[in-house]
Assembly symmetry: C2
Homo-oligomer: 294 residues x 2
């Protein structure tokens, strides 16, 4: 527990990861968030420093976790000039947990290496309760040596830790996981929406889906919520839109035709455009059930 840990981005995921590590005996050096009151509240709770600059997080920590929203935010906290996590980062390790375009992870790894620091991807395929309980599914990539150094910390957060190779590899796998998950989610919403329009008993329909070739993890996590319009957010439609877009762009760059992924991306993009981006991804059912959306 000799490593001191910093956090940039302490929304529900980041905050729960910090709570978990504090509980495991790690010293939390400093926290920072784009929304300062969020970081201030967590700093009070964990009795750690609320850093005012990115450089101060790095200065106060041996390992810095970043849990930011998107590509732009990640590149901004690792800016090559001005306030940046890179300032004074020699010998430090960054663990970057957001689902981003893989090439952004590669670029951040390059910038870190140029300063004598290391960047490791820690892509999470789990949600808020798992962060709190230390049972995340974590997909990692980057320099093996840096991964080995942070592994004891990651093992406090994760019961399923995978090392997938060089920088960008974990982000690629994560993008594919979410692309397929989102497509299964959108397909399920269409199936339940049509069942509803036909007047079928959706409890029975979900049960039959679960016993046949239609079964899926999202049926378990989202099926009942789609039926009951319970869209409290675990994984937002806005994130689904972002992640499906990342994967869809990778497909375009590779020259692949991915019509189901494209249709899925369009559905989550539509949710964002209609102001439904803060709903859980199960909210895609709001687009497919008759009479729910004009």
């Amino acid at each position: 527990m000799s490593e001191t840990i910093g956090f940039v981005g302490v929304g529900r995921m980041g905050a729960n990861m910090a709570r978990r590590l504090a509980e495991c005996g790690y010293k939390i050096g400093a926290v920072l968030d784009a929304h300062p009151p969020t970081a201030a509240a967590l700093a009070r709770e964990l009795r750690c420093r609320h850093a005012k600059t990115l450089a101060a997080v790095t200065a106060a920590s041996d390992i810095v976790f970043t849990v930011v929203t998107d590509d732009a935010a990640q590149l901004s906290v690792f800016a090559e000039s001005g306030d940046s996590l890179l300032v004074g980062s020699r010998g430090k390790v960054f663990v970057n947990c957001a689902t981003l375009t893989p090439s952004v992870h590669v670029e951040v790894a390059r910038r870190a290496a140029a300063r004598g620091a290391s960047a490791v991807e820690g892509c999470m395929a789990s949600s808020i309760p798992q962060a709190r309980q230390g049972t995340l599914y974590l997909m990692c990539a980057g320099p093996r040596k840096a991964f080995t150094r942070v592994k004891p910390v990651l093992e406090k957060l994760s019961t399923s830790l995978r090392f997938l190779g060089k920088a960008g590899r974990a982000a690629q796998v994560k993008a594919l996981v979410n692309m397929v998950m989102n497509a299964n989610t959108a397909a399920l919403a269409e199936g339940l929406g049509l069942g509803d329009a036909l007047g079928l008993d959706l409890d029975v329909l979900r049960e039959v889906f679960g016993q046949t070739g239609a079964a899926s993890q999202v049926l378990k996590t989202d099926g009942e919520d789609m039926q009951n319009r319970s869209h409290d957010c675990y994984f937002s439609a806005a994130h689904a839109s972002k992640d499906s877009t990342i994967a869809w762009r990778l497909g375009c760059q590779a020259g692949l035709h991915m019509p189901v992924a494209a249709a899925t991306k369009q559905q989550f993009d539509t949710m964002v455009a209609r102001g439904l981006g803060s709903l859980d991804k199960s909210g895609v059912a709001e687009l497919t059930f008759k009479g729910r959306q004009a």
Copy 2:
């Protein structure tokens, strides 16, 4: 075992259902197939009659199973004039197992009732080995009284027997099951295809999919086959195209927007158009992996 059973349509599914019932002690009255040598071979094997007309199957049986290819075939074996299973059908029960447009089951039920016979849907969400072993997942609908009469026979074929309501209900649920299954299959093929294009280890990728929100029944049944191009047919792409079309039309009639189902239908339609309809549904990966199809 006092009921004598007839079969119309003894391809791999129908033939295995007949074998199973014969093994359970049922007398097979007569069999018939659109491809006469297929029926002749089964008749020799089961030492039963190879009927030359539909009316002869009805005459030789108390309960007639039909396992035909599509809507047109089903309506044709229940023609209202000429040779037909309806001839001399008073008091008999038909069990119709094909995945059809629900309204076709309703129409066949109407025609049967007009002759004093009954029609029950026995929609199967399983494949050839399950037919042989008597472990089909069977979704039934139609008149409750007729279902009760055939239930002991169906229980020899099925370990999961569900009664879903009036005529058409089982076909609706079946169409939805296959619509969602096909979409999950097409989405998985895109995910693995993109993983392959990115140079990822597909064994690892499938394992990660199976441990995350991307998990699905089709990942278990079709994932490895997509990777290895093993498309021996359990459930053909042509059937997937037909079933996705049935569900998509139901959605159109209900005024629903189902973009993922539409994109999926298009993929399986494309397989048929390219002469790949006889591959297993896993063959949709032939469209999504780089370099497999021009």
